[in-house]
Subunit: 97 residues, 2 copies
Amino acid sequence: MNASIQDINGIIHGRLRLGVMAYLSSVNPASFPELQQKTGATNGNLSTHLTKLETAGFIRQEKGYSGKRPQTLVHLTPAGRDAWIEYLGAMRDMLKL
Amino acid sequence: MNASIQDINGIIHGRLRLGVMAYLSSVNPASFPELQQKTGATNGNLSTHLTKLETAGFIRQEKGYSGKRPQTLVHLTPAGRDAWIEYLGAMRDMLKL
DNA sequence: AATTTTAGTTTGTTTTTCAAACTTGTTTGT
DNA sequence: ACAAACAAGTTTGAAAAACAAACTAAAATT
């Protein structure tokens, strides 16, 4: 296969989005504040990147309530999981891990 | 250790620079055209990113000649190798590879 | 001697990243 | 009950990064 940088999904590769995807790959779904805490991002920044991942079809944002407070649950979609697997493969190959 | 995105070196992480570092980690030094071919970057773009890696102290650009043609050889510095090792560790940990 | 090719740098535009400021609604203190 | 502080996000504007086109300079080719 011998992956090179062209094979690395740029949407996933961004630092913050990579953190989100990595976390979602083991904790799915995860809440917005949970992701914020795990990534250390500001809420504004996280919001922007989630929108980007959502536009790419990798995650889904479910807006509901926890009690009376609004709560967004972020789900990894099947397409997102596929893309994640592929990303891992490409990185493993490229970095020779 | 449990690495998160904060532990990932942003200079190295950029797509193109990552390709350069990965290549240099096994072929050191490498010529400018060789890197261009391997990464698929335009020469302008590659030049910019090499400058960035050089400023960070991760590579050294040796300007010499191959016969009469100018040839830039790009060397991974010891600091660059250290940073690379650390990057690999952080990624391995974060991606659970 | 004109044209093409090689090797790179500089410059300007587009894209991306990021955080401050704002919005909307909730809880807490007095 | 009313104001102040808090929580959960979104919008927006500024800074940084990525990228490719245009340029420079010298060598090889015709």
